[in-house]
């Protein structure tokens, strides 16, 4: 309890991290209440498929009926944004969670066993890190076929190395500590030492990096959707919605902002979501990193 109290005390001193909490909290609320805020039309097979109101290729500006307007092919933008919040959380949490687990296993094994296991695993890490930007992720989705799940797998596949490096470094220092020697003297197995003694003691920096990378992972996944590699058109996913807007940024002739809503609304949502995680991550790092204390 005192830990929570302490964290709350720290948060109160940082207005920006409170803002982060507020943003993520609001998105969470929208995600949980999605069926109430934007009820799924009766008879729809999948709640994540955005209802379509006609097939006209031109987007329609916000109106009473569609408060965020519609995109091309008349997908209701409000519905897409609300249910897209759930998609955003799912992508962020699953990808970061899985990348963290892969990183913990690979980095943990490399640091714990050392020798040639370390050498092989770390060279593999270097190789994945050497890929430019999101190119490897694009290749993976291109060969497996465009879909939201494949986007998630591919982002996982390129984002575990930073965790692996971090964990390896920590494990190297923790495994020399007395309690590990004690556990070994008591006859504990390798797995028990690694999972019960070493990893729990090197998890904090990993959690900080995880909260800091939540935002960039959302950006990467959205970028892949933007390139047309993500969910199919009509699926409630912000990146997909913004890729639908690409043809409309120049507006209509004589009115460059005619279809502003197709870019601005999903763009703003992605931005705020990422900003929220980054502010939270900053706070987590400040609180957990004693070097920064005044």
């Amino acid at each position: 309890m005192s830990v929570l109290k302490n964290i709350w005390k720290q948060l109160k001193r940082r207005p920006m991290s409170l803002l982060g909490f507020g943003i993520i909290g609001s998105f969470l609320l929208v995600a949980v209440l999605a069926p109430v805020i934007a009820p799924t039309p009766a008879g729809a097979r999948d709640a994540y498929i955005i209802p379509q109101f006609g097939y006209s290729p031109d987007p329609v500006l916000p109106s009473r009926e569609h408060i965020f307007g519609t995109t091309e092919q008349q997908y209701d933008l409000f519905y897409g944004m609300v249910w897209g919040t759930r998609t955003a959380f799912r992508v962020a949490l699953q990808v970061v969670g899985m990348a963290m687990i892969i990183g913990l296993l690979i980095g943990g094994a490399a640091g714990f066993y050392g020798g040639w296991i370390d050498e092989i695993l770390m060279r593999l890490t270097d190789i994945v890190l050497a890929f430019p930007d999101i190119l490897l992720a694009v290749v993976i989705v291109a060969v497996t076929g465009p879909s939201l799940n494949h986007v998630m797998y591919s982002v996982m596949a390129v984002s575990w190395p930073s965790y692996a490096r971090l964990v390896r470094g920590d494990v190297l220092s923790v495994k020399e500590r007395d309690f590990v020697t004690a556990a070994r003297a008591l006859g504990a197995s390798d797995a028990r030492i690694l999972f019960r003694h070493i990893l729990p003691n090197s998890i904090y920096p990993v959690l900080v990096v995880a909260s800091l990378s939540m935002g960039s992972i959302v950006i990467t996944a959205a970028a892949l959707s933007f390139l047309g590699l993500g969910a199919p058109p009509g699926y409630a996913d912000w990146g997909q919605l913004i890729s639908l807007s690409q043809n409309w940024i120049m507006g209509a002739s004589g009115d460059p902002f005619a279809y502003w809503h197709t870019v601005v609304i999903p763009g703003l949502a992605i931005f705020l979501f990422v900003l929220g995680w980054n502010l939270l991550g900053d706070a987590a790092r400040d609180i957990l990193d004693p070097r920064q204390k005044a």
């Binding site: 920006m16 060279r123 593999l124 270097d126 190789i127 994945v128 890190l129 050497a130 890929f131 430019p132 930007d133 999101i134 190119l135 490897l136 694009v138 290749v139 993976i140 291109a142 060969v143 497996t144 935002g215 950006i219 959205a222 970028a223 933007f226 390139l227 047309g228 590699l229 913004i242 807007s245 690409q246 940024i249 120049m250 507006g251 460059p256 902002f257 502003w260 870019v263 601005v264 763009g267 992605i270 931005f271 990422v274 900003l275 980054n278 502010l279 900053d282 070097r291 920064q292």
Partner: protein, 342 residues
């Protein structure tokens, strides 16, 4: 030091080998027929897929196929890139200078703005200026480049008819491809100036404004953050207290004492940042239709232009290894306490 550099350079072939082998393994997700279809240019050829598979050895085991490719590369043949419509080596020669130019134009402002505001932010810690600076930086860090890019295009190009996407206008295109145009440096803006073509130089520069601005805004946050925290750490050190105790003016303490030490991690980061930009900024180049390495690489990846992907990735991986090496060496050069190679 020399031994250290040579040892690290020896890793280079290993990384290139690993990167290309990994790409090759990814491609095994596709059936031989699908990979053969990538070589087909005319629908009528589809009936002869088996011949294509035979010709390129696509049914052979993975190491054999990789070996065939390695042998080609050893003969200096990187293959033909379908997306670039030219051989891979030519594509690199054509796209890399554009990315290089954009990098050069972007890098300096990032450094100046990042370091300047990072120091200010540290000196005025927890004051209004610090909060504003940090907030602006973190918003930039949180903006996806395609959102910022599309927004900028909408306002500047759509509304104000300024800063069009692409590399240059049609007039400039004809000019730079004319026989009389001499390519002195490969940097197009500079070359236009050297050829006395002021309009063309302005045109090329104009096309780089929005991508450069986008990259500046989204990349400056990291540099600013490192400068700030590094500066904060230095300001608590004993030598700063000593300098204050002997009555040195605060400006001199900051500029002459603390800054010099605070910049050490900044130098390291900056070489990584430079190469990060040079390796191709995929999304920014794509949004602004800027014909650089990043846009080519991602197009090749999307269309499974295998030689194109392999070529652009090898270039980026090469730069990555060099950048890490340079950053380690720089680290040792600017900080005499650190010795590499031990």
């Amino acid at each position: 030091m020399l031994k250290f550099i040579l040892k690290r350079l020896a890793l280079l072939p290993l990384v290139l080998f690993g990167v290309t082998a990994l790409l090759f393994s990814c491609l095994q997700f596709l059936s031989p027929e699908m990979r053969a279809a990538l070589y087909v240019k005319d629908p009528r050829q589809l009936s002869q897929l088996d011949a294509v598979i035979e010709k390129y050895g696509l049914r052979k085991p993975l190491p054999v196929q990789y070996g065939i490719w390695l042998k080609q590369v050893a003969h200096g043949d990187l293959g033909y890139s379908e997306t670039a419509k030219m051989p891979v080596a030519d594509a690199i020669r054509s796209f890399f200078p554009a990315t290089f130019e954009l990098t050069v134009v972007t890098f300096l402002p990032i450094m100046v703005v990042g370091v300047f505001f990072g120091v200010l932010s540290a000196v005025y810690r927890d004051k209004l200026l610090d909060h504003i600076t940090r907030f602006v930086a973190i918003t930039g860090y949180s903006l996806p480049s395609f959102v910022l890019g599309l927004g900028l295009l909408m306002v500047f190009y759509g509304r104000l008819h300024l800063f069009p996407p692409g590399r240059y206008t049609l007039d400039t295109d004809m000019l730079v491809h004319a026989d009389s145009f001499r390519h002195w440096t490969g940097l197009l803006t500079l070359d236009c100036l050297l050829n006395g073509q002021w309009h063309a130089a302005a045109d090329v520069a104009e096309h780089m404004v929005l991508p450069a601005a986008t990259l500046l805004y989204i990349s400056v946050a990291l540099l600013l953050r490192i400068t700030r925290s590094s500066m904060l750490e230095e300001l608590t050190k004993d030598y700063v207290r000593t300098a204050r105790a002997k009555g040195l003016p605060e400006r001199a303490i900051i500029r002459k004492h603390a800054l010099a030490n605070a910049l050490i991690p900044v130098v390291t980061l900056s070489s990584l940042l430079f190469i990060g930009l040079l390796g191709g900024v995929v999304i920014t180049e794509t949004v602004f239709d800027f014909p650089g390495i990043g846009r080519w690489g991602v197009q090749a990846a999307q269309q499974l232009d295998i030689p194109g992907v392999l070529g652009s990735t090898m270039l980026a991986a090469f730069l990555f290894v060099i950048a890490n090496l340079v950053s380690d060496v720089l680290y040792a050069v600017v900080d005499p306490r650190i010795r590499v190679g031990d």
